[in-house]
Every structure is written in C-alpha cells, then in structure tokens.
Homo-oligomer: 235 residues x 2
C-alpha cells in the first residue's frame, strides 16, 4: 500500500532527483538508515546510477525537510535530532494536530472513514506479525493514520507540514524510543476515529493530545552527548 501522503497532490511524474529523494526518505522513515549515517554524494549517485548532481539535489531536498543535515564542506548525514529538537517536533504536533483533526472531521465522508478503518486493520495485522519488513510497514502505517487525517482535512499545506513532522518523529523515535513496540498506542487511533464518528470533537482532540503525549512519554530525551569520551569510561 502506498503512503497516504502520495495518494493525492502528486500528479507530475517525478524527475530523477525526486525519485532518489523519495527512496532515501523512505529508507530513513522506515529506519533502514540510522541517524548520523553519512550520505556521501558519490555513494548516493553510484547507488542510483546517476551523477553527483542529482544525488546532491536529492540530499539538499531532504535537508529542507529536516531529515538530512548537510554540513558545509563535510557532507550530508541522516539527521540526528537533539532532545530539544525532539521536544519541538512533538510540541508542534500538539499544536497543529487538534486543528487538523477538527478540519478533517468537518469534511470527512463515509468513504474516508472506511479507508481509515481499513488502515487501522492493516496496522493491527502488521503489529501481530514478525520480521523486519512487517515492523517497517507497521511504522509506516502508524504514521499514515496521522497523514490520512491531514489529507482528509483538505489543506495541502498542512498536509505537507504533517508529512514533515511525521517523518521527523520517526527519526526521533528511532533515536530515543525505549519500548521496542513503539506503536503501543495503536488502539488510540481507533478511539480517535470512534470519537470522530460520533461527532464528539472535543473528545477526539483530547484523545489526540493524549496519544501524542503517549508517544512522547515513551522517549528517553536525555542528552546523550556521546558521553564526552571521559565519562564513558569513568565508572
């Protein structure tokens, strides 16, 4: 199943750099690429059989989304969000997601609700499965719930912003997540849908805020400053 993100608004066939960007983004979001990994332009180019020009453009694009950090004269790395950055990402989500939810609820159709329930089912199914691929699909599906809400809201700008926030959240969870089953809050997605169905928007927003708080609560946002080389052995 394709990401909900791409479901609409991507009409033009993607040109080279965009394809590479999307491929790398998927790899980052699905955590096949770890934070901090060096992404050299030549390597990326060779990997996709294109010149450094396109590889560079793709990396540049990812840096605008906050998934890659490019350092002058040093190259590009998979972003390694700081605890402070992580806090800001979730703060931003708490700020926008209730609003998105309200707009989505105002426009949601029975077909949308059906699609979302299907997504939920898929998510649950993946949770019970074993293996790396299932785990990755589960990560993606869990994010897709939030993206689909943004899609239903009908605001392309908020949708793009949510795509960025969800992608960066995935990075944060990869770095600071504690419980292996990070998407423990799966049932919460269902609760939110139910609240939307019964038009209880205040409750839906409340649930959404709790849901985000739960994800954040599973993080250990302590400064891991590489332990300064001294402290690492001073025990």
């Amino acid at each position: 199943m394709k990401s909900a993100a791409k479901a609409l608004s991507e009409d033009t066939s993607e040109t080279g750099a965009q394809q590479i960007r999307d491929a790398i983004r998927d790899a980052i979001v699905e955590r096949r690429l770890s934070p901090g990994t060096k992404l050299s332009e030549s390597d990326v180019g060779n990997l996709f059989n294109v010149s450094r020009t396109l590889a560079r453009a793709a990396l540049q694009a990812l840096s605008y989304e906050g998934l890659v950090s490019v350092e002058t004269n040093r190259g590009a790395f998979v972003a390694y969000p700081s605890p402070e950055e992580a806090r800001q990402i979730f703060s931003a989500r708490r700020l926008v997601e209730p609003g998105i939810l309200r707009e989505a609820a105002a426009r949601i159709t029975p077909i949308d609700i059906k699609r979302m329930k299907e997504l939920l089912l898929e998510e649950g199914r993946l949770m019970s499965e074993r293996g790396q691929t299932a785990r990755r699909a589960e990560i993606k599906a869990s994010g897709d719930f939030h993206l689909m809400l943004a899609e239903v809201s009908g605001n392309a700008i908020m949708q793009r912003f949510m795509e960025e926030l969800v992608a960066r959240s995935s990075l944060v969870i990869a770095l600071y997540g504690q419980s292996t089953a990070s998407s423990c809050g799966h049932s919460e997605h269902g609760d939110i849908i139910s609240a939307i169905e019964t038009k209880d928007l205040d409750r839906a927003c409340q649930l959404m805020l709790h849901h985000i708080a739960h994800i954040e609560a599973d993080l250990d946002l302590r400064e891991r400053k590489s332990l300064g080389l001294k402290e690492a052995f001073e025990l």
Copy 2:
C-alpha cells in the same frame, strides 16, 4: 532592520546558493517580483555572477518554500497562488497562529515585549511615509510582527513554518489584495500585544483570529482564469 526571521537560528555563514535564495525571496516578499514572472536559470546566474548550478539550486530551494513554482522542462516562475491555495494559506494561519501565540505568551519576557513595541512603532512610522521603499519596508514589518511571535514561542520548527506562511501570504496579497493600504490592520497588532501583556490569552487569540480574518477579507478571491480568451472580449 533585519528580518526577525534571521535574528536567531542562522549561525552558519551562508553559502552561495543560500544568499541568492534569500535575495530572491526578499524580492518576492517585498513584491518587487510579480507573481508569474519567469526566473530563468541563466538570467538569475548572470544577475548574481554565478553559474547556472547555483542559480538552479536557489530556485529549487524557493520551490520548496512555495514561493517559486518550477515546471519540468519549462523553468521556474514566481509562484502564482490559486484562490484555493490562498484560502489554504490563511486557513493554515488560523490553525497555527493562536497556538503559537499561546506558547509565545507563556515564554515572553519584558525585553521581548519591548522589542515588539519597537517593531510596532517602526511599522506605524513606515505607514505614514511615502514612496516605494517605505511601502516595501512596511510590508516586511507587518509580517515581522507575526514572525517575532513565532520566534518568541521558542519553537524553531513552527518558526520556519510561519516564515513560509507569511512569505506566501505576501504573494497572495500582491495578487488578490484590494485596498492599496493592505496593512490597515496595523492597530490590531498593538491590540494583540496589549492582550498578551494583560495575560488575557483568550482575548489575544480572538484578536489574532479577527486580524487574520481582516487580512483575508481584503482579498478578492475570485477565479481569475485569465478570462478564457473568449470571455475576455465577449462583452
């Protein structure tokens, strides 16, 4: 006075493409470049005495911010937001600005308030002046109010998002604004600050929503579909 946007968070000296990007962005936001204007890579490169490579990178960057639209094999143009896009931009602002305001109010210091009042004064001064440059500075100052609020909120992610929204709003106003004195809502900025000072957050949010509504109300968001070539003379 530099844009509030750059006041913080820009530590690294900017590399070529970024300087060009910023220069073009300023030109767009200050409405020296009209929506729809073609931005050919060669021309941009010549103008800044750099190769097409850098010009292209700058244009690419601007397209991620929604200020420039690049069409495959056709080139880059100053964005020409559709009425629907315009509505979404303001919808997004209504969605996020109250939240930003609340966060800002929670962290605001007397120094911040002083800075904002100075900005207000500057804005008022520019409004009374004549001439293109004063008008452009006024446009920028009017946006800087909203950006400074985002800056005070302490969330770099929301700040960047607001920068995008304010810049794109400027484009929309350039296209669809009716009253020449588009920043008639200057006094509303002062009211919002007052409400923040007295810790009346609900009122501040209310004022903010009205303020955004006022800006939007000044727009004539009717589909100007270039009048279809037939209708243009069929009168």
